[in-house]
Amino acid sequence: MVVTAIVSGVTKSTNSRTARALALLAALALVATSCGADDAATLEGPAADIYAGTCADATDTTITVYSGRSEELVGPVFDAFTCETGHAIAPRWGGSTDMALLLGEEGERSAADVFLSRSPGPVGFLEGKGLLAPLDADLLDLVDSSFASDEGTWVGFSGRQRVAVYSTDTVEPGELPASVFDLTGEAWRDRVAIPATNGSFADWFTVLREQFGNDAAATWLNDMVANGARSYPNNRSIVEAAGRGEIDLGLVNHYYNYQEAAALGDSHRAANHGFANNDIGALLMVSAASITSSSNNVEASTQLLTYLLSEPVQQYFTTTTFEYPIAAGVDAIDGLAPLDAAAFGSIDFNSLGGGFEETNAIIEASGILNQ
């Protein structure tokens, strides 16, 4: 509609040849899109792996979701949910931090019902502002209590493990470290990269601070810098840099290397190395789901969050996105290092929301950004 109006607007101001070409383009495009939209009773593509049955009749419920996880990964889950329950989903896609800021700005007037975050930090931020509704106890019980907020405002729905990615060309498997604390040693001088400004690193570093104290955390980071560690903008750029031999080893979330390998095949020359299971370097980070306090759609939203923790969706997360399932007794796919769940029970993610200020101060003071 908008396009047609605009094209006709343009018609008046430009000469007719351009206008005709544009109008034709728009018309063709409209035809093309309308052809694609037939109401299939069953799903196709990745969504069909989650739900293969026939679709339920549409209800008049629409759940508005602000998703910090991308359409490419979560889109099929939403499609399956809509097909199975009949509830429509209106998703706004964006970065987790941006979405949290937007929700913070919208406050009690937000149209959003559900917020999905890549990591606990952004939900912690909203929890701190009192903008998240307490979740249903049955929903919280679906995961280990360490994967949900103490205040019950968010629940984890998939896990990413912190690992070291290393260049298979320049690093011998025998020299790989057992702990992140080994990386400050001479053996790793000028070889290591960390994503110092990245959200998931900040989350991880905040947990490190909580466990070992500010002084120990700052000492570790300062020693890393003194040892020639470099900062990259995010996990992906580190995995890429390791894959092409630019760096020897980097601290990242585990699943990027699987994605890069899937995308680049043999030309990607990097592999994951897991730190010892009880090492802080092997922390399991969760992506988090929450319901806003402004939602007047709590029942359907709870249904959606429960769906995220159901067996087929947990299976989808591990097979398609190489993440760790954390509910419904689903096992991680072959090739993912097995997790020792007990080792993660003591982590307190609740410090994350308010803990960033100190984390940022330590990171900035370390000088790693001034390279």
């Binding site: 964006g94 800021l101 890429e240 630019e246 940022n360």
Partner: protein, 520 residues
């Protein structure tokens, strides 16, 4: 007058928001600046912005002169082709360079086959400077080339008759006439460089925008105080440019001028080489990198056989959305800044000057701040806000605020280039205000207005943060799709969509701006 005031108020929304946030928060912007914690990033932002604007100014002006005033081969082609780099979102441009230059990339493979083992690692100041200069010089090139084509040969010929050499005549007669365009273009480059998130981040160059970004969640008050610093920096730059352009008055003749083209002689080859090298680095190289992604490196024997995650429907939908809102934005942006430009250019009004400054300085604000500001205001203005929320109108308004600054410089020059004598004559002949506007002002200003619209169009097509936060739900654009595909390592799909974006941008610029120019 009224239109100009309304326009200025619209543009002042984000600044008002940042001020409001600062007033209601604890952090003190001044304290922060002198605290040393952000001194280093602030200094780096400045250093980068100055270096980039000087480089882009030199490249843009040089190329504009070659294309508009010399007998360089394929002038018409260069006129369009050299404007293309504006279409690359800076995160794509930087990523393309990094991926191509570094091991495993196409440039590295290519150099490797010539026996060069190690391409220099592109990063830090040099990386950010290179990428930003290459992708922003069109901000200077486009208006300067447009201006150069307006300056009639008669002035230059008079100077020649009075005994000046060709070069002297250019320096004494032509250059002063284009100085305001160069200044305006360099200002835009400067503002772009201090507000860029994408390229500096990927190049790992720690600037003020990074400090703002990492503080949003951790300490929002600090982030907003830093944004205020950014606005202050922008205001200083705008003020400086204002003084500069005031000292260069523009006198212009009317009608389609006869152009004087310098014959380059043997220099023609050098000129061609210069234009071709810039084109190769700033346009061809990223396109080759994108094609390489789009084909998943298949030409280099990398094959993964993974099914594609997007279909034709996805591509068409995103393309239509992008083209539609961008065209509308370009149109409204010119309409919004025209009254302000008329106030400033024709009546030299002080309120007009302030409005002009506000519009320009908005360009230094990161898109995400503009998006948050509009959310903030629409949710707090009752009926109007509720009526606007989640509409295409709000999205277009946000884009206009973000990019109106790109149109105002050329529009102002266009307004000034209508000679008062001609307008007086028309008035004497009894033409009313409307008639004068439609049959005199608009035709004479057309080139400038179109160039302004073109700049807005190209930038809107690649805009990311506003598109993510303000677009109505279920309204994907090319950049939002590219962003996520890229994030999830679906590089092939990202490459395909990025190529579509580049192709559309070029086709539109060609159809609406370049093809209509009277380039001979």
């Amino acid at each position: 007058m009224v239109a100009a005031v309304i326009g200025a108020i619209g543009f002042a929304f984000p600044a008002g928001y940042v001020l409001w946030r600062n007033i209601t928060a604890e952090a003190d912007a001044l304290d922060l600046v002198f605290s040393g914690r952000i001194g280093a990033p602030l200094w780096r932002s400045l250093k980068l912005a100055v270096a980039v604007s000087v480089t882009a100014g030199a490249i843009g002006t040089g190329l504009a002169w070659l294309v508009a005033r010399t007998d360089i081969a394929f002038a018409r082609f260069w006129y369009g082709a050299l404007a293309v780099p504006l279409v690359f979102p800076s995160f794509i441009g930087a990523a393309a360079f990094i991926r191509a230059m570094n091991p495993g990339g196409i440039a590295n493979d290519l150099l490797g086959s010539f026996g060069v083992d190690q391409t220099p690692e592109l990063r830090g100041f040099v990386g950010a400077w290179l990428v930003l200069s290459l992708f922003t010089y069109p901000y200077v090139f486009m208006p300067v080339a447009a201006r150069l084509r307006q300056i009639p040969a008669s002035l230059e010929e008079s100077a020649r008759l009075l005994g000046d050499s060709s070069a002297t005549a250019f320096r004494r007669v032509v250059l002063p006439q284009v100085m305001p365009s160069i200044g305006a273009g360099m200002l835009l480059v400067f503002l772009y460089a201090i507000s860029d998130f994408g390229a500096v981040k990927l190049m790992r160059y720690d600037t003020l925008t990074r400090a703002i970004e990492t503080n949003y969640l951790a300490r929002p008050d600090v982030a907003f105080a830093l944004s205020l610093v950014l606005m202050g920096l922008a205001a200083v730059a705008v003020g400086g440019e204002h003084l500069f352009s005031r000292s260069h008055a523009v006198t212009v003749d009317s009608r389609a001028p006869r152009l004087r083209r310098t014959e380059l002689g043997r220099g023609r080859f050098v000129a061609l080489l210069a234009a071709a090298s810039v084109f190769a680095l700033a346009t061809l190289a990223p396109i080759v990198a994108l094609v390489d992604w789009a084909t998943a490196g298949r030409f280099r024997g990398v094959d993964t056989g993974r099914p594609l995650r997007i279909d034709t429907g996805d591509v068409t939908e995103a393309t239509i959305n992008t083209v539609g809102v961008s065209l509308a934005t370009a149109l409204f942006a010119v309409l919004a800044v025209l009254p302000i430009a008329i106030l400033v250019g024709r009546f030299r009004s002080r309120p007009g000057g302030i409005a002009h400054g506000i519009v320009l300085a908005s360009f230094a604000l990161p898109g995400i701040l503009i998006a948050l500001a509009l959310r903030f205001w629409t949710l707090r203005t009752g009926v109007v806000g509720a009526w606007l929320a989640d509409t295409h109108a709000l999205l277009i308004f946000a884009y206009v605020v973000r990019f109106g600054s790109l149109a105002i410089g050329v529009t102002l020059i266009a307004v000034r280039s209508v000679p008062p004598t001609v307008r007086d004559a028309a008035r004497t002949l009894g033409a009313n205000r409307l008639r004068r506007l439609t049959s005199l002002d608009l035709p004479l200003m057309r080139g400038g207005l179109m160039a302004g619209a073109g700049l807005v169009l190209l930038s809107t097509m690649k805009e990311l943060p506003i598109s993510l936060l303000i677009a109505p739900i279920g309204f994907p654009t090319l950049t939002t799709r590219i962003f996520f595909l890229f994030e999830e390592a679906f590089v092939t799909e990202a490459g395909v969509l990025a190529l579509v974006l580049v192709a559309c941008s070029f086709a539109l610029t060609w159809a609406l701006v370049l093809r209509r120019s009277d380039l001979t």
